[in-house]
């Protein structure tokens, strides 16, 4: 048996080397088919990673809920503790400062920019790719000056980051500790994260209190006169399996949070709490999946055509080779040996074609990566490359096609009688 197999393999190699024309003819269809398959897998892998990264940069890791509480919050620490209590794993403030502060260096005021008040824990919720410097640490909250991390385009607009000031009419010195890299994943507008700390509290929340009017005797500030627009916004990270994550509108979560609202909020109605998913990787995965199924279908059809090509060449040559195969049998080849030889020959040819296809795909992808890098600034983790899985899928399907295309001719070849074959 083993001897049959090895003899079959030796004959197959000798056969595909001796019959170059036959080999090349069989190859072409498979090269195109396997190439298409590898490229499709590569593209959908790239799309997937691009989508995930985009989602993590713009929204957050799965599953991130943006929680908004309308109305006056009297005890933020209690609210944040409750956000954790109802299932959140990480919580960060994500608040558009009511004072709408701007940044400037000297007389250079940047007006087209956005600021969000956040906590150091945001780094556990949202993907933050730092170009230089660092993200906030808890120690930064003790800083006497407001501490910021800005994105690259804002950093460029500001120029000298050591003399940045924050404010609107009243300016005060600010510290910039890090710069986030711009990429096609964020909107690349000028944006800054402002660390929530005693030094920045009034910038983030002060406007609302001011708008709420003077405190009334016996009531907490803002109560009763609270700005109906006052709104606290948080990003909360959940386990993907958490019920709150499964429910995009956060019904369960809202109810749970609403029932303890008395602990930290004055006059916060249940409908004043809203929650929704901001990570959209899953939402994007669906259309991406359909797209890659479509492409996969095209690749499969192409590969199928290649298979028919190899099969055809195989069948034609078996007819031609009846005499050759009968000769082998006369010389002592068993049916097994010849079956292995004919099938192996098809497999060898297909795998060689598959290797050529993979090589071509690698070259094309390399070229594509140069273009992507040029026109689409993306982080390294999203880089365009042929994933190992694509190579495996390509070579695997090449071998499978060879196997399929080899079995029918091999079975045919063995049906013919030796005597008849020798008489041809």
């Amino acid at each position: 048996m083993l001897r049959s197999l090895t003899a079959g393999v030796v004959l197959a190699f000798a056969g595909s080397r001796a019959n170059i024309a036959r080999t090349i003819l069989s190859c072409t269809g498979i090269v195109v088919g396997v190439g298409a398959l590898v490229m499709v897998v590569t593209a959908s892998d790239f799309g997937q990673r691009y989508a995930v990264t985009t989602s993590e940069v713009q929204g957050g890791l799965p599953a991130t809920l943006q929680v908004e509480v309308s109305g006056e919050v009297t005890d933020r620490a209690a609210l944040e503790a409750d956000l954790l209590r109802v299932g959140g794993r990480e919580v960060s403030l994500y608040q558009t400062p009511t004072s709408h502060p701007l940044l400037r260096t000297g007389q250079n005021v940047v007006t087209d920019m956005s600021v969000n008040g956040v906590d150091p824990d945001l780094s556990g919720i949202r993907r933050l790719d730092l170009a230089r410097g660092r993200w906030f640490t808890d120690a930064d909250t003790a800083s006497l000056a407001p501490v910021l991390v800005v994105n690259e385009s804002l950093a460029e607009r500001l120029g000298d980051l050591t003399r940045v000031q924050i404010g609107t009419e009243r300016w005060r010195d600010a510290r910039i500790v890090g710069v986030l890299s711009d990429s096609s994943q964020d909107y690349s507008a000028n944006s800054a994260y402002l660390l929530r700390s005693p030094a920045s509290e009034d910038l983030i929340f002060g406007g609302a209190e001011a708008a709420a009017g003077p405190p009334v005797d016996g009531l907490p500030p803002g109560a009763g006169f609270g700005d109906p627009m006052a709104r606290s916004t948080y990003l909360v990270l959940f386990d993907s399996e958490h019920p709150a994550a499964a429910d995009p509108f956060g019904q369960e979560f809202r109810t749970a949070l609403g029932s303890v609202a008395w602990r930290w909020g004055a006059d916060v109605p249940a409908e004043g709490i809203s929650a929704f998913r901001v990570d959209h990787a899953e939402a994007m995965r669906e259309p991406l999946r359909y797209m890659s199924w479509g492409l996969m279908g095209i690749a499969a059809v192409t590969l199928g055509t290649g298979l028919l090509g190899v099969l055809n060449v195989g069948l034609v040559t078996v007819r031609e080779r009846r005499r050759e195969l009968a000769t082998y049998r006369a010389l002592g080849a068993s049916r097994t040996t010849l079956f292995v030889a004919v099938v192996m020959e098809a497999v060898v040819v297909s795998v060689v074609a598959g290797l050529i296809a993979v090589g071509g795909s690698l070259a094309l992808t390399e070229l594509g990566a140069l273009l992507v890098e040029r026109f689409l600034p993306i982080p390294d983790s999203v880089g365009l490359y042929v994933p190992g899985g694509a190579v495996l899928v390509g070579l695997g399907s090449a071998a499978l096609v060879g196997l399929l295309a080899g079995i029918i001719p091999a079975a045919r070849a063995l049906r013919a009688s030796v005597v008849a074959g020798l008489r041809d």
């Binding site: 003899a7 004959l11 000798a14 050759e324 006369a330 010389l331 002592g332 049916r335 005597v419 020798l422």
Partner: protein
């Protein structure tokens, strides 16, 4: 240098004939009609014996040789090869026996067209699992023995008929068979080549102690045999 490969595994007794053919028949059915080609063949061939089978064209000589070569199965009768009743053997064992015990020389040579003389001679040894280097060495040696030491890398179409048949002879000898079957080996050759081929065939068979069954209607070939078996209307005389 000895180049003998192991001979078939079954035990031999000097007295037992190599081939023991008894009442062998073979008929074909062509569109419903039965054609009795071999009606009763009975004869024996001793080890190392040279037997010529003669008969008119269409008398069934090739059919008989195909049965002897285990390329075909008889309709009836028995065929003992080296003490084994071949009619009971499965396809795998018959292939093995063919590869190890029998060498073929065909009228049309049946060389593999795109392969060199060296590779052609090596094929039975590939099937027998002989390692590459030993295979090469033995093929070279055999080709030298039939006077083709200078044509090792020629392909069949680059060789004359006589040379091709010598390659085929070397191939038939490559696994030191105990039986060489030759179906009109000189039928496609001129007189000079024919004589040379027969010389070499008989010489190599003698060296390898192989029996030879040669189908021919060339009297010159027949007269060199130890014995002549005549086929008349599918019966041996």
């Amino acid at each position: 240098m000895s180049v003998g490969a192991p001979s078939p595994g079954s035990p031999r007794t000097a007295a037992a004939p190599l081939l023991d053919v008894r009442g062998l028949t073979r008929h074909f059915t062509v569109s419903g009609a039965r054609i009795d080609v071999l009606r009763d063949c009975t004869f024996q061939v001793a080890r190392g014996e040279v037997v010529a089978i003669v008969g008119q064209s269409g008398s069934g000589k090739s059919t008989l040789l195909n049965l002897l070569g285990l390329l075909d199965r008889p309709s009836g009768g028995s065929y003992g090869f080296d003490g084994e009743d071949t009619t009971r053997l499965g396809e795998g064992r018959r292939s093995r026996l063919r590869g190890e015990g029998i060498g073929f020389v065909f009228q049309q040579f049946h060389l593999l067209e795109r392969r060199t003389a060296l590779a052609n001679v090596g094929v039975p040894m590939v099937l027998g699992g002989v390692p590459l280097l030993r295979r090469r060495a033995r093929a070279r040696e055999l080709l030298e023995a039939v006077g083709l030491g200078h044509r090792l890398h020629s392909r069949p179409h680059q060789l004359s008929g006589g040379e091709q048949q010598r390659v085929a002879l070397a191939r038939a000898l490559s696994r030191s068979p105990s039986l060489i079957l030759a179906d009109e080996p000189t039928g496609a050759l001129d007189a000079a080549s024919s004589a040379m081929i027969m010389d070499q065939l008989l010489e190599q068979a003698r060296i390898g102690e192989a029996a030879v069954v040669v189908v021919t209607h060339d009297p010159k070939v027949a007269e060199r045999a130890d014995r002549v078996v005549e086929l008349v209307e599918g019966r041996t005389l």
